[in-house]
């Protein structure tokens, strides 16, 4: 008999599970050694509670009602539930808090290679550690984890959600025009970005050139030295992180001044993990200095998550060479 399962979900059989377990064990070993305590939270949360966090592009896809008529949602990531947990259960704990998790999250994506509606994440949250030191610790732990898993060719894209906003501020671009420009940036449409900037009719041709060019810059630390004026100040946060990275971590970093993430709680540095064996990122994260405050305990924080299925595909790809 064949019995169907929902689109975007799947069963895991022993051969695959053995390989997933070894990835999880490697990550767990690193988290443990670095002093990150493992937590678990319910897969179901009240919709109103998760909504406090704001989820942007990662809208919860599955909702149900409990016997009292409350709307429950399957979590779409672990960061918002952990922010809730920290505000509730660690209200007076000593800082910084180092937490890690291995958990499934659920999103309404279109299933394709390496993308599922139910996916297993391994991640960390470092709470109460401000930039740049906290960000550098998170990035170092990310490299330690990927190294321990056995990936050799990965790179980490590092950007800053505030960078382009600062540029727009400096040219006094606000209101609808600003929203349209940011929409094109988030949609990864540089043709549309150029069109919207042209429509501003800015008097300064250098400003126009800067607004179009900067979000397209990717490269090594030398990239940050090429910036001038406002852009140089806006990239100061990235420079401070870079100064704190060990060479083995720094050499994995690709600075990406146009990097965007589809979660809207990020406030500063953001990052994504790439492997040449996979067409989409293996995971990512960033700073979310406002999120804890929304739950009632204002603390700077940074975290990241790896999507284990994708890590597995990339690892298999690297090993098949």
């Amino acid at each position: 008999m064949i019995h169907p399962i929902p689109s975007g979900t799947r069963d895991v059989l022993p051969d695959e599970m053995r390989e997933l377990r070894s990835i999880l064990a490697a990550a767990h070993g690193i988290f443990e050694r670095a002093g990150y305590g493992e937590v678990a939270t319910p897969a179901l949360e009240y919709e109103d509670t998760l909504a406090i966090g704001g989820v942007g592009g990662a809208l919860p896809a599955y909702r149900l009602f409990d016997e009292a008529g409350h709307v429950l949602t399957l979590r779409s990531d672990m960061t918002v539930p952990i922010a809730r947990l920290v505000a509730t259960r660690f209200a007076t704990a000593e800082l910084p808090l180092r937490l890690c998790y291995f958990a499934h999250a659920y999103r309404g994506v279109k299933p394709q290679r390496g993308q599922s509606r139910e996916f297993l994440q391994a991640g960390i949250e470092l709470i109460g550690a401000p930039a740049p030191a906290g960000s550098a610790e998170a990035l170092t732990l990310l490299c330690d984890t990927l190294d321990a898993i056995g990936l050799r060719e990965y790179k980490i894209g590092l950007g800053d959600v505030g960078l382009y906003q600062t540029l727009l501020d400096s040219h006094g671009i606000d209101g609808d025009a600003r929203a349209r420009i940011l929409h094109e940036l988030v949609s990864r449409d540089f043709v549309g970005l150029g069109r919207e900037i042209d429509q501003l009719l800015l008097p300064d041709p250098e400003a126009v050139e800067q607004l179009k060019r900067i979000p397209q810059l990717r490269g090594g630390p030398e990239l940050l030295d090429q910036l001038d004026g406002v852009a140089q100040d806006a990239a100061e946060g990235l420079r401070l992180i870079h100064d704190r990275l060990e060479p083995r971590v720094a050499e994995r970093i690709i600075f990406d001044l146009g990097l965007v993430r589809d979660l809207d709680y990020y406030t500063g540095a953001i990052f994504e993990v790439y492997d040449p064996k996979l067409g989409n990122p293996l995971g990512g994260g960033g700073r979310y200095d406002d999120l804890l405050g929304r739950f009632g305990r204002s603390l700077p924080a940074v975290g990241w998550a790896l999507t284990i299925d994708r890590v597995h595909v990339a690892l298999a790809g690297e090993r098949s060479e």
Binding site: R113, G157, D275
Partner: protein, 212 residues
């Protein structure tokens, strides 16, 4: 051919955009003669070219099966969920997305007035829906795969949303343009991971195309 290009796999659209796409690649020093000479072959590993219908280009590029690709803006507008970078307007393949109906009294406007809803045939379901939503009108979208022009002639629908380059096909079928929805041209797109890991090679191509 320079070493820079060797590392990129390029998705080239078959059909109306193919010749100019290949001309463009020639200009970058990529040898496209084998592609031009071979109508059935799809994968040209030596030069890093894969050929496919334009609407498949975002699929291959998003999955990373191709690093960069060329396709029409109409295709990208119809597949907004694709996570690809749109790097450059290549300028060629200029077409207009239009709302058209049978010449004479506009059946679409009449339907809206008397029935409150316009029946529209199209291959571009999302573009059509968005256009009607944006202009505050109700439309019932009928998706067809073949010649859209047939649909209003048989009375199945009141109007069509379709892409037109010269308007000849519309005219020959007695249809007139009622509204212009968007102008579309060929675009250069890139996979989000290749855009970071192969930044040098991709930027080199973008710079040369921009200067051309």
């Amino acid at each position: 051919m320079s070493a820079l290009h060797e590392r990129l796999v390029i998705a080239v659209p078959r059909g109306a955009l193919m010749k100019e796409s290949l001309d463009l690649l020639d200009g970058l020093g990529i040898d496209t003669s084998e592609v031009r000479a071979n109508d059935r072959k799809l994968l040209f590993e030596d030069v890093g070219i894969v050929t496919m219908r334009p609407s498949d280009v975002p699929t291959y590029v998003e999955a990373g099966a191709a690093d960069i690709g060329i396709t029409g803006k109409d295709v990208l507008m119809e597949q907004p969920e694709r996570e690809v970078y749109e790097l450059l307007d290549l300028g060629f393949g200029r077409c207009t997305m239009v709302l058209a109906s049978v010449a004479g009294d506009d059946a679409g406007a009449r339907a809206l007035r008397r029935l409150g809803v316009m029946r529209v045939a199209t291959k571009y379901r999302k573009i059509a829906l968005q256009h009607f939503a944006r202009t505050g009108r109700q439309a019932e979208i009928v998706e067809v795969k073949g010649s859209v022009e047939l649909a209003p002639l048989t009375g199945m629908v009141d109007a069509i949303v379709d892409l037109t380059a010269t308007g000849t096909t519309l005219r020959e079928n007695g249809l007139v343009v009622r509204e212009e929805i968007a102008t579309t041209t060929a675009r250069l797109i890139a996979n989000p991971v290749a855009h970071k890991l192969k930044a040098g090679a991709i930027d080199a191509i973008v710079e040369r195309l921009r200067a051309a």
